[in-house]
């Protein structure tokens, strides 16, 4: 079987998602204010600080996967809490609501156990809560088989990869991404689907993630060429 050219039941239609940032006017000067705001803001704010932030910074080296951890570490110097926030396995969550609840639990645990006075951010370095407004656009690129899929993966923007890997997990609420869903349902390759959903995409740079996805396809096709 030539898996490269086996035709899928339905083509994969690549979309892209771009974001406009909206200011909320909310700020936090310390960890207590941070968690109180996290409880109240809309889901699109949590989404921005855990996902869009990623796109803006994770191009050269993997940075902490969320803005909260970055601020707690770089501005407040609360390194232990920052590490706990960084270590939240975002892959575990299929909704923003669940992710928000975990972040709140981590911070409240810190506040309960912490006996030291709260640290305040210097003036001008407060945490500013931002909302993401997302615009989803079809790219016009369609893959009918894995060969086309791989070629398109090589040339689309990281915004598109981001939409299908990170946003899809939250959109589908199944803990899997669009690529995994497609190869399973349209190509009938559950093993490849498992490969797409079993690694931690948050620990890669954006270009590293692109290469990883392409290598998964080529590696699997080479391994299964004689099947």
């Amino acid at each position: 079987m030539n898996w490269w050219t086996k035709r899928a039941k339905n083509p994969f239609q690549f979309h892209t998602s771009v974001h406009l940032r909206e200011l909320t006017g909310r700020k936090a000067r310390n960890v207590h204010e941070l968690v109180e705001n996290i409880k109240e803001v809309s889901g699109s704010v949590i989404y921005y600080h855990t996902h869009v932030f990623l796109q803006k910074h994770q191009y050269l080296s993997p940075e902490p996967p969320n803005d909260f951890a970055y601020w707690v570490s770089q501005v407040l110097g609360e390194y232990k809490l920052a590490e706990e926030l960084t270590s939240i396995d975002i892959c575990e969550f299929s909704t923003i609501r669940e992710l928000r609840e975990r972040i709140i639990r981590v911070i409240e645990k810190f506040l309960f156990e912490n006996k030291e006075p709260l640290r305040y951010a210097p003036k001008g370095r407060e945490f500013e809560f931002i909302k993401a407004r997302s615009y989803v656009i079809p790219t016009g690129f369609k893959a009918r088989n894995l060969k086309e899929f791989s070629m398109i993966l090589d040339k689309i923007t990281i915004h598109s990869i981001y939409f299908h890997v990170f946003e899809a997990r939250l959109r589908l609420e199944k803990g899997i991404n669009d690529f995994s869903f497609w190869v399973d349902t349209s190509l009938g390759t559950p093993e490849l689907a498992e490969l797409f959903s079993s690694f931690d995409p948050y620990s890669f740079t954006m270009e590293g993630l692109r290469r990883k996805l392409i290598n998964i396809v080529s590696g699997w096709c080479a391994k299964n060429a004689k099947r």
Binding site: R21, S42, L60, R133, Y135, V136
Partner: protein, 405 residues
Amino acid sequence: MIISDYEKIVGKNIIYELKLISKKLKKKRIQCINSTKVGGGVAEILSRLIPLLNDLGIKATWDVITADLDYFNVTKAFHNALHGRKVEISQSMFDKFIATGKKILNDTKIYGDVVFVHDPQPIMLVDKKTKANKFIWRCHVDVSSPYMEVWEFLRKFIEKYDCSVFSSPKFARQLKIPQFLIAPSIDPFSEKNRELTKTEIDSVLKKYGIKKDKPIITQVSRFDYLKDPIGVIEAYKLVKKYIDCQLVLAGNRAADDPEMDMVMNDILERKGKDPDIHVLLIEPERNDFDINGLQRASDVIVQKSIREGFAITITEALWKSRPVVASAVGGIPLQITHRYSGLLCYTVAGAALSIREVLNNPEYARRLGRNGKEHVRRNFLSTRHLRDYMLLFLSLYCDEGVCYL
């Protein structure tokens, strides 16, 4: 330049994505309005983006208001007041603003589906808003700690707009309308940012009598107290105790900036007879090329502002892979991650220490420069700005959290 020229800078896929977005705006006419086409960051941004929007098939135009010098003196005072500087604001200034604003209303034709107004000078134009058009107010200044009387006066007009735009989250105020965050940008092909040959760089140094026999510290800004040129001189003097170096303060005059002469006198007094301090008033016709050359020739770029809108000169310096030492104010922390893509400072002594670190450690300086350039490529070039503007225009017609286009 046309949009496809940017493919080699940001990649074909990014340009393709811009074309996808632009198709959704083909039927809209975008009218941009500000106070001057010459000098200052706003004019620079619009002069680039309007042609690119047009190249993407969007009907975008650029108009300027006309007013007398007294009016621009008032708006300059308002500008300083918005930055939190202590200025005398009298009732007669508010009256002058309103009276001239009415005249501007009368003289300015509004024809856009989207009217994009920049900064306070044309702000009263929102009184021409109808059901058929949408108005956006774009604020380019740091309003994190404004003089409240001026802010409250302007807020009455701002809240008539459909939405507002600011350059930094720090500038968010309590407003009844949506506030979007769009950072300014630079154009990699402009005369100010394109690659220069060694011959070209040397020609700029020669023109201003600057020899490359000592490290060069440079600040490029309008001659304005808010850019703290005196503080920069003080920092230079602290560095000079340990490293024989020279300082360049370079800038030009914007059409709507009447207080420059006072600032220049103070600078020259502080410079005294030091031959290693070069104070350069760049002629507008040579501004871009000369600034480009000076930045590329510099060993470290400084921006020790007290207040900033965004500090586009920082973006320029980062794009040229120059190590940057800058105040952590305004939009500067959005551009510089401390110790990764530049150095942030809070005081004269802190600036001096950071400058010494950079000059004494060239490999570290090069690493800062490389990281800074990559950060600009991803986040602060014209292509990203175009995308944000197009999404901003689309937001006027779709206010959902997720819009499927």
